[in-house]
Amino acid sequence: MLRRFSALFVVALATSVSLYSQGNLLINGAGATFPNPIYSKWFDDYHKANANIQINYQPVGSGAGIKQVTEGTVDFGGSDGPMNDEQMKAYQDKHGSPILHFPTVLGAAVPTYNIPGVSQTLNFTPEALAGIFLGRVTKWNDPLIASANKGVNLPAKDIVVVHRSDGSGTTYIWTDYLSKVSDDWKNKVGKGTSINWPVGLGGKGSEGVTGLVKQTPNSMAYVELTYAAQNNIPFGAVKNSAGSFVKADLASVTAAAANSSKDMPADFRVSITNGPGKTAYPISSFTWLLIPSKFSDAAKRDALKTFIKWALKDGQNSVEALSYGKLPKEVAAKELKALDQVQ
């Protein structure tokens, strides 16, 4: 009886396995959690339109994305911290051909907080942000915060700083900004996907950090705009280089990228934090897909190229609903040309 059942089970399993491998192309990617909401929508929509192409993207953090695409265990990566020269050289040495960066959407890292009793939008100056994350500003009613938020009843409670425990492009964007606005930060900590945090709790992925902030009173973290928006947690405005407090939204993020198309380098690795512009949100960034320039599997290469073309055109129509900014048209055009480099 048991034997018959197990035999049946094995046959059913084997059949189901073989059924699903008929004609389906599975492409594996890994990387940033920053764009995961839009990527998961894109890959789902794309799969609905092209039933035999499945793009499996695992949001394990930009650090892991860079590492695994370099190891070759995934077909492409995702990162909001562009690979540095050392990492690009490591890839080149291992594979004999370079890795290419393709910006996909514009996003923003926002300061979110969970202060019982405070639902207003707080204003954060660069000094306040650097002080908080350096561990120098420890209470919510510290003058550095209070002076920019007159009229708000800030409690005399300890700030619970939350940061990423995994290697993160969002961390890169945040620390890139802090390094530009605070010499102290630049010298003490620096920028990167994985840094030595002076204070705070670690959450895994943007999801983990958002989850922690939601649950922990008097906490503060940096996450991608979508996560704060989707989960209805308040986030603050940041003072930009022109001196105005700007909250992240489609307009301010797009404004931050306004000048980038002119200065866009050929490999698309650019930082747009703390840029010029009165209405620009200072902690904005592109996020990139890391695509190998040489594919041994032609089917995968073609499928990915077609996907990217779709993402740069049709895909852009769904980004704004999820609070991401569209790519500037010139940048998208440059990318379409650059796709030819993928062999």
């Binding site: 650090g63 994985s194 840094i195 670690g202």
Partner: protein, 327 residues
């Protein structure tokens, strides 16, 4: 054919007096070879694992040497890796776990072995065995949704108000941290202490108890002053076993400890453990040194559990031999 196989040889592993040809013809040599190969595969896999851990951490071991164990800094950016925060976190959470689980566990084992009637004892042991089967990630889920708010809203403030002057209980109450991880670990390891201690206590010969009672001791005195000391080494063994389990726990710990390489006297502080940092950072360790440092941490964990498990086994075996001997 009666001449060849008439010798009834001893059963078991010792090959009898049959000739080699006979054994081959009957297929026994093939059976022996095949099963030997599979037994050998077990040894091979274990050997390979140790080799992989050793060679995979070579660069890190050479670069940092013994300083690895005493350096506080863990900075992937600058290539500075020190294991101290993780060793500290692992030891602290395990210590908390034992501090809670050992008294509770031994108490429960005493009840099950000495007081409860056999049916009750077996039924309760059955439930405790089921508790041991609950996977780590389930404890993690309970930790995230039940324990952390409980700690943050009630337990930590209560401790802070009463014992807050002690450095152990100072600092803000996040809900997350060493104490929470230690408490979750305590629940996870208590079944090991209970089942092994119970067995060990049950194997203490009756005459020990009876002698004590005959001399006029109360039930508790005979248990605590005679039976338990007799089983002392076995109970120690169960503690080592529990400790080995606690050291290697990954999922439940990483979900409640805060994932911050912190060394702090306060139990309320967030921290990190060896297993948790490997789980979080392994897939993203860019650069050889980073990965090797993590593998070296894995090697450290392996050695710790290896030693503890070995000691546990020796102690438990020693007790059961002693108990079985009788007086």
């Amino acid at each position: 054919m009666a001449a060849t196989s008439t010798t009834v040889h001893g059963a078991g592993p010792i090959a009898g007096s049959r000739s080699f040809i006979d054994r081959v013809r009957d297929g026994d040599e093939i059976a022996r070879l095949v099963t030997f190969v599979f037994a050998g595969v077990t040894v091979l896999i274990t050997l390979l694992l140790v080799i992989e851990l050793w060679t995979g951490s070579a660069a890190s071991r050479h670069k940092f040497g013994l300083n690895f164990f005493f350096t506080r800094v863990w900075d992937p950016n600058s290539g500075d890796f020190g294991a101290l925060p993780f060793i500290y976190g692992t030891l602290v959470t395990s210590a908390i776990a034992l501090a809670i689980a050992v008294p509770l566990g031994i108490g429960a084992a005493i009840f099950l072995a000495e007081l409860a009637p056999a049916r009750v004892s077996d039924t309760l042991q059955f439930f405790i065995d089921l508790l041991a089967a609950v996977p780590s990630v389930i404890y993690g889920v309970l930790g995230v949704f039940i324990f952390i708010p409980l700690m943050r809203e009630y337990i930590q403030p209560a401790l802070s108000n009463t014992l807050g002057f002690i450095p152990l209980f100072s600092g803000p109450a996040y809900g997350i941290g060493f104490l929470t991880a230690g408490i979750v670990l305590a629940i996870m390891v208590i079944p090991y202490i209970i089942s092994v201690s119970r067995e060990v206590l049950l194997s203490v010969p009756r005459d020990q108890r009876e002698a004590a009672l005959a001399l006029g001791s109360t039930r508790w005195e005979s248990t605590w002053k005679v039976v338990v000391p007799f089983a002392r080494t076995g109970i120690m063994g169960s503690i080592f076993l529990a400790l080995a389990r606690a050291l290697g726990e990954t999922m439940a710990v990483t979900m409640v400890i805060g994932n911050t390489p912190n060394i702090s006297a306060s139990l309320f502080s967030p921290g990190y453990s060896i297993a948790a940092v490997i789980a979080n950072e392994f897939t993203e360790a860019t650069g050889d040194l980073y990965l090797q440092a993590l593998i070296e941490l894995g090697l450290v964990l392996f050695l710790l559990t290896f030693i503890l498990n070995g000691l546990a086994r020796i102690l438990i075996v020693a007790t059961s031999q002693r108990g079985g001997g009788g007086h």
